[in-house]
């Protein structure tokens, strides 16, 4: 490591330390709640003020769905566009060739654990109203199952699980369509019936006729229609990570990378 590199590294570390110390000086003391946080805390699950509440026992779910719904929708779409870009760069004719994989102990255990991991991913997603977790977390755990199959067995084992690159793309698009249609249904309802309803709004307001929880009879159980939208996010994220891993582990042949696709 030469002198110039040392000077650059030390000055960078000093700059970052100064920024962090400056940020730490402005940090509020323990117990101080900003007005925005106070608003969320007051309106998330408050029985006395039901005009504005979001009827969700989990404050993160309430914020994410009620106050930042469009944010979540576009985050998911950005993720989708990124995966499509990677697929366009690297996609060749995918050869799902069956090879031996690792030793027989690892293979047998991975087959045993596969169903277990999928079940736990579904559980984390569905019970995410009250527990920590949600679509992204459940989806990443669902991706573990397929990544373990790709690593321990081989890529060629995936057709035996009825999974394929194009099929994974289809399931992912299905998740996106599920999320989108759930957000659009209230607008269509209000336009059709001439009443007032809001997009991305789950709380039953006094002046709006359409709210997901009362509409489905789930008023006391959940904070809105989170479960189907979380399932959509689950399949979307899980299949996205699976596609990325499937493309990246493609064996490089003689052909040059990227570019000409027929």
């Amino acid at each position: 490591m030469s002198l110039k590199d040392s000077i650059i590294g030390i000055s960078f570390v000093a700059l970052m330390t100064a920024i962090l110390i400056y940020a730490f000086l402005g940090y509020p003391e323990v117990g101080f709640v900003r007005p925005l946080g106070e608003f969320y805390l007051y309106n998330t699950f408050n029985f006395n003020e039901q005009g504005w509440w979001s009827a969700s026992p989990n404050a993160v779910t309430g914020v994410l769905w009620d106050y930042r719904g469009y944010d979540t929708l576009y985050e998911t779409m950005v993720f989708y566009v990124g995966i499509v870009a990677i697929a366009l760069f690297f996609e060749k004719e995918s050869s799902l060739r069956r090879t031996s994989g690792m030793t027989v102990i690892v293979r047998a255990t991975t087959k045993l654990v596969f169903v277990f991991i999928l079940t736990s991913a579904m559980a984390i997603t569905i019970f995410s109203v009250k527990t920590p977790g949600g679509g992204f977390q459940g989806g990443s755990i669902m991706a573990i199952a397929y990544i373990a199959i790709i690593i321990a067995l081989s890529r060629g084992f995936l057709p035996e699980l009825r999974m394929d690159l194009s099929k994974a793309h289809l399931i992912k698009i299905f998740g996106l369509i599920l999320i989108f249609s759930l957000t659009v249904i209230p607008v269509a309802y209000s336009l059709a019936s001439g009443t007032v309803a809001y997009a991305l709004q789950n709380q039953p307001k006094p002046w709006s006729e359409f709210g997901y929880p009362t509409f489905l009879g789930l008023y006391s159980l959940s904070g809105g229609m989170v479960i189907p939208i979380q399932v959509g996010e689950l399949v979307h994220v899980g299949m996205g990570f699976t596609i990325m891993f499937l493309i990246l582990t493609e064996r490089e042949g003689k052909k040059e990378l990227g570019g000409k696709r027929s």
Binding site: V60, P132, G133, G134, F136, Q137, S140, I141, A143, I144, I147, F241, M244, F245, L248, T249, E252
Partner: protein
């Protein structure tokens, strides 16, 4: 008790980062960064942010380590 564990984990993060910077073996750097991801996830857990801890475990420990190793397979392992 909690403060002691958080401070210990932060100190181990600093040590692991120094080890990552000074090593020449890139596979070793990937393994050490996975260990650092575990520490950061436990810090998030102890600071009562379990959602963020789940995301950190998934993205910092699992996905990024796996992708780094996939990339490392197409390169040389030892840095000059």
């Amino acid at each position: 008790m909690m403060e002691l564990i958080v401070n210990l984990l932060l100190a181990s993060c600093v040590m692991l980062t120094a080890a990552i910077v000074y090593t020449k073996d890139l596979l070793l750097a990937v393994v050490l960064s996975g260990a650092e991801g575990v520490m950061v996830a436990v810090i998030f857990y102890l600071l009562l942010a379990p959602d963020i801890a789940l995301v950190q475990v998934a993205a910092g420990v699992g996905i990024s380590t796996a992708f780094f190793i996939v990339g490392l397979r197409k390169l040389r392992r030892h840095e000059e």
